[in-house]
């Protein structure tokens, strides 16, 4: 590949914060002192933290240089499977910084916060429509927080029904966080394997589902990017034994306007606002993990809930069966604003088109690369497809090597070594916001890498060579942790 996107520009080295600055400098405009100093009781004052003193420009250069060592979605294609790294619209960022919204105290009386409450109420209604569910909480701060909320609801539902259940079924194609979330509610995970088509068969679920099992956690489409075709039958089996069906909606981007989880057997599910609904991931949060439920589970939703009546919105804690509170206030409101703006900008037809294009992009990549890379499940995929490094085994080139080499070509690597059901998995999710040209360039880069694996495998094993640092010694980092300077 002659015209690789990846190149090297001038980036600058930058020391750690505390190696800069000089005592007495300041990067903060200290407010005018308009009151006299007051005495402080003896023995309770401390020395204050040992922070470096920096000027405003010191701080600005420091973080500008650091930012230049990062690859963001605005830099280039970020095909991380099951993470839905789609474009984060800039106008939504602006809305979330309007002074009326950023400056709002969370405990303001309802009559002084109608706009925020209305926005939350409407966002809940829209998410209910998109998922085909009846009631929604926006409180969970991320996907795993939403999973925990969902599991707490499952737990509370069974407890309320007077039944103690200790197990939960988690397929091998579900998200990695699922078992840990379930464990917090005292459920032990019962793993079930997907079949040769990469989906769950009703028979394996019937084989493990019993009256000590609280339910099943299903990611649909699953982490192989495949639609769980037997979902209705699986739900019937689980429901017949009194269990609930939990949906991990992390892959919702494939099915907006195509399928409603609430209409095909799911009782409770979470969404990721920082995936499907375009809010930026922030290098690891903050996100948003709303939970949507069917009517019969609504009494268990966390409090406070946004309630509308007599022309006004207010927050109510008056739900005696609620699982309680999950967040110090009402959740990540700043993230909710952006998701609300996204839905308002897309409309129903726009969301459906986004899902169609996300699926088209993934299938296009799958078809274009299946001659070059091993495709363990050669069937129509949803929004992501999973390859493996099987064809490169003879060259002793691994998924990791190919992923690292992609960096040199100017792409963020896909999700690798997940899902665990595929040995050496490479999970590619392009999302709908990548254009055909960009996807073609990505395909061309991967083909070039596959050729390099044959001709010059060392190149891949030593990749990447263009970023600021080469492969890092993670073993040493874990053996002798250095976690603060």
């Amino acid at each position: 590949m002659r015209d690789s996107q990846g190149t090297s520009g001038l980036i600058l080295n930058e020391p750690l914060l505390w190696k800069k600055g000089s005592k007495g400098r300041s990067g903060f405009s200290m407010p005018r002192r308009d009151v006299v100093p007051s005495p402080v009781a003896e023995g309770i004052t401390g020395d204050g933290p040992d922070f470096p003193d920096l000027s405003e420009l010191d701080v600005v250069r420091h973080y500008t240089r650091l930012s230049q060592w990062n690859f963001g979605l605005d830099t280039g294609m970020y095909p991380l499977g099951s993470c839905t790294m789609k474009y984060n619209p800039k106008i939504n960022e602006k809305q979330a910084t309007l002074p009326g919204l950023t400056g709002a105290h969370p405990l303001l009386p309802a009559e002084l916060s109608q706009g925020a409450l209305k926005l939350m109420y409407r966002l809940e209604r829209y998410l209910a429509e998109i998922t085909g569910m009846d009631a929604v909480t926006l409180q969970p701060a991320a996907g795993a927080h939403g999973e925990l909320t969902g599991m707490l609801i499952v737990h509370a539902y069974h407890k309320n029904a007077g039944s103690r259940r200790s197990k939960i079924i988690v397929p091998d194609t579900a998200h990695g966080t699922n078992p840990a979330s379930a464990a917090l509610c005292g459920f032990s995970s019962v793993p079930v394997q997907s079949d040769e088509k990469g989906i769950i068969s009703p028979e394996v679920v019937a084989g493990v589902m019993d009256e000590d099992t609280a339910g099943i956690m299903i990611t649909n489409p699953n982490t192989l990017g495949l639609f769980e075709e037997n979902i209705r039958e699986i739900a019937r089996i689980v429901h017949a034994k009194g269990g609930l069906v939990y949906g991990d909606g992390a892959n919702m981007n494939a099915v907006m306007g195509i399928m409603q989880m609430g209409k095909i057997g799911f009782d409770v599910m979470h969404l990721n606002l920082h995936k499907t609904f375009s809010t930026p991931h922030g290098g690891g949060g903050p996100g948003g993990g709303p939970v949507c439920v069917k009517d019969f589970l609504a009494p268990f939703l966390p409090v406070p809930r946004v309630v509308y009546g007599e022309g006004t919105y207010h927050l109510s804690e008056n739900f005696s069966q609620s699982i309680g509170r999950l967040h110090a206030f009402h959740g990540n409101f700043g993230v909710m604003i952006k998701a609300f703006c996204y839905i308002m900008s897309m409309g129903g037809e726009g969301l459906k088109q986004a899902s169609r294009l996300a699926v088209l992009n993934a299938n296009y990549i799958k078809e274009s690369l299946k001659e070059s890379l091993h495709l363990p499940y050669d069937r129509a995929c949803m929004h992501e497809c999973v390859f493996s490094d099987k064809l490169q085994e003879t060259q002793k080139v691994t998924t990791l090597d190919m992923a690292k080499r992609l960096i040199d070509y100017g792409f963020h690597p896909p999700t690798i070594y997940f899902p665990l059901v595929v040995h050496g998995a490479m999970m590619i999710e392009p999302t709908e916001t990548e254009s055909k040209e960009d996807i073609d360039r990505f395909i061309e880069a991967l083909r070039a890498i596959v050729a390099e694996a044959r001709e010059n495998p060392e190149l891949l094993k030593s990749a990447p060579c263009r970023p600021k640092v080469r492969r890092l010694d993670e073993t040493a980092a874990a053996r002798k942790p250095c976690l603060a300077g």
Partner: protein, 443 residues
Amino acid sequence: MRYLPHTEEDIASMLRSVGAEHMDDLFSVIPPDCRMGKALDLPDALTEWELNTLVEALAETMAVSPKYKIFMGAGSYDHYIPESVSYLLGRSEFSTAYTPYQPEISQGTLQAVYEYQTLTSRLLGMEVANASMYDGASALAEALLMAIRITKRKRVALSRLVHPHYRAVVETYLRPGGYEIVELPCLEDGRTDILGLPGMDDLAAVAIQSPNFFGCIEDLTEASKSIREAGAFFVTSFTEPLAYGLFKNPGCQGADIVCGEGQSLGIPRSFGGPGLGMFACRIKHVRSMPGRLVGKTNDREGRPGFVLTLATREQHIRREKANSNICTNSSLCALASAMYMASLGGTGIRELACLNYDKAEYLKRGLREAGCTVTFDSPTFNEFVVTFPKKLKYTYKKLLKQHIVAGVPLSTWYPELVDHTLLCVTETMGREDMDALIREMEL
């Protein structure tokens, strides 16, 4: 739609490549009885300009400064945020990146989080801090779960002066596991009564917040002695970390785990979220700690760099045996707080903390002179409990008409504190605004 780049020609050519005739053929694997038979019932798409109008209208209904003078704290504080912090945080290399799983192209986030961990450790007087939790409430719940894991005991004691919402979140997290929560009562001076501690056996942890919900500074050193004798973990919580610019930090007073909310440090209130869960502990317990950690290492050419480390504690590796299920956390807010701490510096945080203290003391004095009662004698930071000369309901309403929000009434959580309100001032409250509030008391 401007976010969808595909032209009709692109779509036609891509469909040909995948062997489909129509877009809907792509979904043929979805059984017909699982497909939606109708269009989504959502409002029509708005243009960028229509969206501006809509959201501005919603924002305009909110009571915010400068039109309103808001004397509210209670876990969410109004502090000035330098424009340089907001500007840097907006750099999309930071904001549009994912979790730094590929360290070679994430060194910016990784070094910044490493620096955040360091500044946080220094601020709290601890040895190690993680990359962040969702917020102060979930951080406290996770701290208690950590102590339960290490001690293998099933009982925790929680001060009644820990933020009531934090206590509620702790209950939500701990209830399904069958853990017992004991409440430590409040002394007359507004601090936690730890006298009952020696009688409580088999405690995994004791949690005390300082400054506590009433703004009072707790005597953590004293508490740590009794807690140590009980063999329990000493967990301290906070909602206003700026206080440690002036007061002793929890680490030097014997805390084992320090956790709380970092919103004060450069993050807008945003109606309560996103916030920043700060979490720190002793290095000997690091392998039991929840959340992500960034560590320093070298690349294959010997150059220093940073990676996510000790991942074997985490959910994606250890599955149900993980220390926590947390994955996405509050990384960008951690960056905001690091930028803010760096902008203030050691000198600045001291000066700003003193100014906050002095403002609250000024208001306290003025209100006392105007006939109000300050309920608790203990030293406070930023906020304090007060009763007005007249009924709270009456005064609160009267002040609201003048666009003054007279704090957070406490009887919702503390039924015995009828007519008590929790008032808060920070550096953003001018003397004339405090004088206006004081004058109203005399009318």
